[in-house]
C-alpha cells in the first residue's frame, strides 16, 4: 500500500465535519504555519517539497508563488481553481465532496504564505452541490475562528468565498477563470502580463488547483523535505489519479509518484485490470488533452525500462512515443474501443468549449470535428486524414491559450498511432455505420 497524504481518512464517516476532521489530525498545519512560521518560511517548504501544479501543466507551485508581485500595496489574491472539467478528471470533486476542510485548511495556509486577505475558490457551476458542502465547511471554519479577523489570535485575517462558474471548460484556464470571477465572459487574457503581476482586479494573483492547495497541508505538517522523499526525480509526493474507461475499478486513487503504469492498470489496489477478459488497446493518461498512447508504448519507455506514473516518464520520448501526466485523468480503452469515435468525441468537446476569441481555435476546432464526424460515420476520404493533420498543426501553438493545443494534441496522437483505424473507416464505410463498430485488423490484411 502506498502512502496516502490526502485521502488517508476518506473512509471516515465524519471526515466531512469540523469535529471529525480535527479528530483525524486536521488543521494542524494552520496552527503550525500561523503560529510558528513566517509566510516566506511556508513558501520555502513548498519549494523544498518539489510540488508541481496538479491541474495539468505541472509547473512548480513554490516557484509560481515566488513570482507573486509583492512590491505593490495592492491586495493580493489566491484563487483556487476548482473548475475541474478536463474529460477524464474527477479527483478534485472527490476531495472537496468528502474532505472539504482539507481544501479550506490548505487555502488558509497558502493565503497566509502569499499575504492574501481575501481568497476565492472558483468551482464549476455543475458542482453546485459541492459548493454547498464547501460553504457549510467555510461557515464552520469561521465559527471556529480559523477564518475571519485575527485567526487564532495571530493577527492574520482572511476571508474565503466560493464562486460558482456556469458551464465553461475554458474557465479552468487561469486568466479565463479570473475574467469569469470578474463577472465577464470566460475569454482568456493575452499574456503578458501574467496573473502574478496583474490578475484579479488587476492585482497580483496566484491561481492553484485544488489538489495542489490540499497538498500544502501535509507539506507544512511534515516539512517539504519529507514530502519530496516520496516519488522519483522531479515528480515528488503523491498524486490523485482519476481512473475511468474500460477498467474493472474506476475511481480516484492516490498513488505515490513512481509506481509503474502496468501496476496501476492491473493491480487490484488500483484499476484492477480490463473487464470482460479483453486486452487493453490504448490509454490517455492525463486527461483528454494529452496524447493517447497505444499499448506498445504505454508500458515501456523507449529504452525498454518500465513506464512510470511520473511527469518525466509519461512524457518520455516526447509526443512521438510519449504523452503527459497532465491532470491525472487516466482513461483506458479496451481492444473493442474505436479510436476514431473517441477522437471525434473529444474534438466535439473542444469545439463546444472553444471561447471563440481567436481565429485558429474558433474555426479550427469546428472544422476538425466535422471532418472527424465524416470519417467516423463512413463519409470520409483518405485525404481527410492528412487534412486533419494539417488543421491540428495550424492550431497548435498559434492560439491565445492552451485550449488550442489541447484540441490539437488528441487528434495528432490518434493519427500518429492509429492511422490504420482512420484508414479502415474510409475503406469500409458500411462497417462503421453502427456506433458500436469494432476495428478489425484482419480486414486490413485482406485488402493488402
Amino acid at each position: 500500500m502506498g502512502r496516502k497524504l490526502l485521502l488517508e481518512h476518506i473512509d471516515k464517516p465524519d471526515i466531512n465535519t469540523m469535529e471529525g476532521y480535527i479528530r483525524h489530525g486536521g488543521y494542524r498545519s494552520l496552527e503550525k504555519a500561523l503560529k510558528t512560521m513566517t509566510p516566506d518560511a511556508v513558501t520555502e517548504e513548498v519549494k523544498k517539497s518539489g510540488l508541481r501544479g496538479r491541474g495539468g501543466a505541472g509547473f512548480p507551485t513554490g516557484m509560481k508563488w515566488s513570482f507573486l508581485d509583492k512590491s505593490t500595496d495592492k491586495p493580493r489574491y489566491l484563487l483556487c481553481n476548482a473548475d475541474e472539467s478536463e474529460p477524464g478528471t474527477f479527483k478534485d470533486r472527490l476531495l472537496m465532496e468528502k474532505i472539504p476542510h482539507l481544501l479550506i485548511e490548505g487555502m488558509i495556509v497558502s493565503s497566509y504564505a502569499l499575504g492574501c486577505r481575501t481568497s476565492y475558490i472558483y468551482i464549476r457551476g455543475e458542482y453546485m452541490f459541492i459548493l454547498r458542502i464547501l460553504e457549510k465547511a467555510i461557515a464552520e471554519a469561521y465559527a471556529k475562528g480559523f477564518l475571519g479577523n485575527n485567526i487564532l489570535g495571530t493577527g492574520y485575517s482572511l476571508d474565503l468565498h466560493v464562486h460558482p462558474g456556469a458551464g465553461a471548460y475554458i474557465c479552468g484556464e487561469e486568466t479565463a477563470l479570473i475574467e469569469s470571477l470578474e463577472g465577464k465572459r470566460g475569454n482568456p487574457r493575452i499574456k503578458p502580463p501574467f496573473p502574478a503581476i496583474a490578475g484579479l482586479y488587476n492585482c497580483p494573483t496566484i491561481v492553484n488547483n485544488v489538489e495542489s492547495i490540499a497538498a500544502v497541508v501535509p507539506i507544512v505538517n511534515d516539512g517539504g523535505e519529507e514530502y519530496a522523499k516520496i516519488g522519483i526525480g522531479k515528480s515528488t509526493g503523491t498524486k490523485l489519479i482519476s481512473a475511468s474507461g474500460n477498467i474493472n475499478k474506476p475511481g480516484v486513487y492516490e498513488i505515490e509518484m513512481g509506481i509503474s503504469v502496468e501496476e496501476f492498470i492491473y493491480s487490484d489496489e488500483y484499476c484492477g485490470g480490463i473487464p470482460n477478459g479483453l486486452d487493453i488497446k490504448a490509454c490517455v493518461p492525463g486527461g483528454s488533452s494529452v496524447p493517447i498512447l497505444p499499448k506498445q508504448l504505454l508500458f515501456k519507455q523507449s529504452d525498454g525500462s518500465p513506464r512510470l506514473m511520473t511527469y518525466e516518464s509519461l512524457s518520455e520520448g516526447g509526443f512521438a512515443t510519449g504523452s503527459m501526466l497532465g491532470s491525472g485523468g487516466f482513461i483506458v480503452f479496451d481492444e473493442k474501443a474505436c479510436i476514431v469515435r473517441n477522437t471525434w468525441n473529444f474534438a466535439r468537446f473542444y469545439h463546444h468549449e472553444s471561447c471563440g476569441q481567436c481565429s485558429p481555435c474558433r474555426e479550427g476546432t469546428g472544422w476538425m470535428e466535422r471532418v472527424l464526424h465524416n470519417i467516423e460515420y463512413g463519409h470520409g476520404k483518405m485525404e481527410d486524414i492528412d487534412l486533419l493533420w494539417d488543421i491540428q498543426r495550424k492550431i497548435e501553438g498559434n492560439t491565445i491559450c492552451p485550449l488550442g493545443d489541447a484540441a490539437a494534441w488528441p487528434v495528432a496522437a490518434a493519427i500518429r498511432h492509429f492511422r490504420h483505424e482512420f484508414e479502415y473507416h474510409v475503406k469500409y464505410p458500411h462497417r462503421v455505420f453502427d456506433a458500436d463498430h469494432v476495428y478489425q485488423p484482419e480486414m486490413k490484411m485482406q485488402t493488402v
Binding site: 472553444s354 474558433r362 472544422w367 495550424k394 501553438g397
Partner: protein, 316 residues
C-alpha cells in the same frame, strides 16, 4: 531606448513599443493586423495574423520564445530579434490563420460594399490558398437590424472585437457586444435595438471586413468608382476632418481619414458622417492619399503630384 531587429533591420524604439508598432516604424514587411487597432485600447491579440517568431528574447535573456507571438501585443526588449517574412514558420502559420478566417467567411465580395477596401480581401490575396479545403456549409446568422445608419452583416464578421471597443471607448453606453461562444459567437444587441449615438458610425470605419457597412451608402456604387477627397468643417463634436467619397458631383459617403495602416486618423461624429453630404457643408482640401496599389486609385483621377517618369515618356 530598446533596440529591436526585425527581419535583419534594427530600430530603436521607446520602451513599451510593441513589435508590430516597431515594424510599422521600419515601414517594410509589416505584419498584417485584422483585430489590432492602435487607437483602441485593449485591441489585438485575437486574430493571430500578426504572429511572428522571436528568435532572441533580449540581450539579457537571449532565449528564443517557444511559440510564435502576437506582434501587436508583445513589447520589444532591448536586443530582441524577430523574424517575420524571413521565417517560413511564420508564413506557414499566417497562411493557416488566413485559411481559418476564410472557412466561414462568405465569398460574396462581388456584392459586398467593403470590396476594394477590405482587409481580409487583401490578406487572402497575399496569403490565401486559391482553393478552399473546407467542404462544409458556411455558417450563417439570422439578420438583425441595428438601426437605419449601420448595416450589420454578421456572416462576414471575423470577430475582431474592434466595434465593441469603439462602443465601449467612444460612446456613453455600449448596447451591442459579442454573444454566445466559440464558432457561433456573434456581434449582436440580443434584444433588437438600434446602435445609435453620436459616435456609433466609427464602428463602420474600424470594421476590417464588410460586417458593418454604411446603410446610407449601400449598393450606391463600388468604392473604386468613387473619388475620395479630403475635406473639413468646423464641427463642435469631432475633429471634422473627413474623406468625402464623390461620384460626379454627388457625395455618396463620408468617412474618417485612413492612415497607411488602414486606421482612422481621427474618429468622426455621426453628424459629419451621415448628415453632411453636400459639398457646401465642407471645405475641400484636395484628393485623398490613396495607396498606389489600391484599387481605389486605379482609374479615376489625377494624382495630387505629377510622376516624372510619365512626363518623360510623354515628351518622347
Amino acid at each position: 531606448m530598446p533596440k529591436v531587429t526585425i527581419d535583419d533591420i534594427t530600430i530603436e524604439v521607446p520602451a513599451g513599443t510593441t513589435i508590430l508598432e516597431a515594424a510599422r516604424q521600419i515601414g517594410v514587411n509589416v505584419p498584417p493586423a485584422m483585430c489590432y487597432y492602435s487607437k483602441l485600447k485593449g485591441s489585438g491579440g485575437k486574430c493571430r495574423v500578426c504572429l511572428v517568431k522571436v528568435t532572441k528574447g533580449s540581450d539579457r535573456d537571449p532565449r528564443p520564445m517557444p511559440k510564435l507571438v502576437a506582434s501587436c501585443r508583445t513589447a520589444v526588449m532591448d536586443g530582441m530579434e524577430v523574424r517575420n517574412v524571413t521565417s517560413p514558420e511564420v508564413i506557414e502559420a499566417r497562411r493557416g490563420v488566413v485559411e481559418f478566417l476564410l472557412v466561414n467567411h462568405p465569398l460574396d465580395c462581388p456584392i459586398c460594399d467593403q470590396a476594394g477596401e477590405c482587409h481580409l480581401q487583401d490578406l487572402s490575396y497575399d496569403h490565401g490558398l486559391s482553393k478552399s479545403r473546407y467542404e462544409f456549409e458556411r455558417r450563417t446568422f439570422e439578420r438583425i437590424d441595428i438601426g437605419d445608419k449601420i448595416q450589420l452583416h454578421m456572416n462576414r464578421c471575423i470577430l475582431c472585437y474592434r466595434c465593441t471597443q469603439v462602443a465601449e471607448q467612444l460612446t456613453p453606453e455600449r448596447v451591442h457586444g459579442v454573444l454566445y461562444r466559440g464558432e457561433v459567437s456573434e456581434i449582436s444587441t440580443f434584444i433588437e435595438q438600434a446602435v445609435d449615438n453620436e459616435m456609433s458610425g466609427n464602428m463602420i470605419d474600424v470594421c476590417p471586413v464588410g460586417a458593418l457597412t454604411d446603410k446610407t451608402f449601400r449598393f450606391k456604387s463600388r468604392v473604386w468608382f468613387t473619388k475620395p477627397m479630403y475635406a473639413h468643417r468646423d464641427c463642435p463634436t469631432c475633429s471634422g476632418k473627413v474623406t468625402l467619397w464623390y461620384q460626379g458631383a454627388e457625395v455618396l459617403r463620408v468617412t474618417s481619414r485612413k492612415d497607411k495602416w488602414g486606421e482612422s486618423e481621427g474618429f468622426i461624429c455621426n453628424t459629419c458622417r451621415f448628415d453632411k453630404k453636400q459639398t457646401i457643408d465642407w471645405t475641400i482640401e484636395g484628393p485623398a492619399d490613396v495607396d498606389r496599389h489600391s484599387v481605389i486609385s486605379q482609374n479615376h483621377y489625377e494624382l495630387p503630384y505629377e510622376l516624372p517618369v510619365n512626363q518623360k515618356k510623354l515628351s518622347n
